[in-house]
Symmetry: C2
Subunit: 198 residues, 2 copies
DNA sequence: ACTATTATGCAACGATCAGTGCACATCGCA
DNA sequence: TGCGATGTGCACTGATCGTTGCATAATAGT
């Protein structure tokens, strides 16, 4: 019951996410969010309490979108070597649409709120850990399938290596680094799954 | 001539650098800078024109400090394999003193000004390129010394890989990632200089 | 028709923002 | 002693910040 909303909620949430993504938490004002969402500030506050609540929601939406786009294949139960090797190129290709934005989580980690606010920082670390788990799981499958040889200890390290490459690519793209540089980094990360004695 | 300064200039500049480093460009107010430098805002504006001028100076100071600490050995004419392998551990060790701050340049790349302001972005990319050059030069020396085998093309890629690891470590430390994770990333990057057929 | 509930628009709040005008202080030099 | 030049402290600007109060509008259930 009550008066119905005058706006599309999904569109509004995507707009808020994109605004924070582009300009960061501190760099995005309520006026910006009104423009990006098409929702009056009064309703924004009614729904989310304050700007921080709005931002936490935007982070959650970003995580969902990123997971749907980039982690979906990697987290599949039958994911293997192919999915591991596809992940970073997919990240780079996906960025062609939303260039120079990088990654909302990485960007936030660099902001003041990313260090100050425990909940915000925890969300970042948790999502990164989720990436580690996804990579490690796919790598274990690849080992089981006989596609690569790798110790359990090394699987953890390689998973972190792929995640580090992910983070670096996001940041370097945000800074405007040209695509070939990003591709080089992705290709180097892929070297980790070549056969070796380590 | 004129009235002498009532403050230590070096101390003031280090304070401004640290303030921006901790809280970012938008997250640092003039009041913060007054407190961090011990200089009244009037003199800050007299010297640097505006907040952006102050920030550009802080970036330059950060670059110098970073270069003195991390790039000095790597940029030495006789730098070789040892310097390449020491760089990232040195970065991690140096962070024990200034923890959870990451890297001013990386942090800035994630901010709004890092995308908007061409001069700021250019400083970031230029310094990163300088790191690539330093790594590549040391790697070439290592090849010439017979310590590693590597094609010219691959030297470029490996240099970028080390730089990407540097960037990732800065960002992950800023987010509060524990040190062993950072060490794993550094160790993985070091695998690049092991003998291989690529 | 009335009530409860939720959404919207407007106007304002105190706080803080970056930046400035101005009087005064303190120096070197004539 | 006076002058030019530079530094310092204070008060202040208009703009913008995040946030809120309040009147009103639009719905569902009784």
């Amino acid at each position: 019951m009550g008066r119905p909303r005058n706006y599309d909620e999904h569109h509004a949430r995507m707009g808020a996410m994109r605004a924070f993504w582009r300009s960061g938490y501190e760099g995005t004002s309520i006026v910006d969010l009104e423009a990006a969402t098409g929702v009056g500030r009064r309703q924004l506050y009614n729904e989310h309490g304050d700007k921080r609540g709005l931002f936490l929601r935007a982070m959650a939406d970003f995580e969902s979108a990123t997971a749907d786009l980039l982690l979906k294949d990697l987290e599949a139960p039958d994911a293997g070597l192919r999915e591991v090797l596809d992940a970073l190129p997919l990240l780079i290709r996906s960025g062609l649409r939303t260039n120079t934005l990088g990654c909302l989580l990485c960007n936030t980690a660099c902001e003041s709120i990313g260090v100050t606010d425990d909940e915000v920082r925890n969300r970042i670390l948790t999502f990164w850990h989720r990436m580690d788990v996804a990579y490690a799981s796919a790598l274990r499958n690849a080992v089981a399938a006989g596609d690569i040889r790798m110790t359990a200890r090394r699987i953890e390290r390689v998973a972190r290596r792929f995640r580090a490459a992910h983070v670096a690519i996001c940041l370097m793209r945000r800074a405007g680094e040209p695509e070939p540089v990003l591709i080089d980094v992705a290709r180097e990360a892929a070297e980790a799954v070549r056969d070796r004695e380590g």
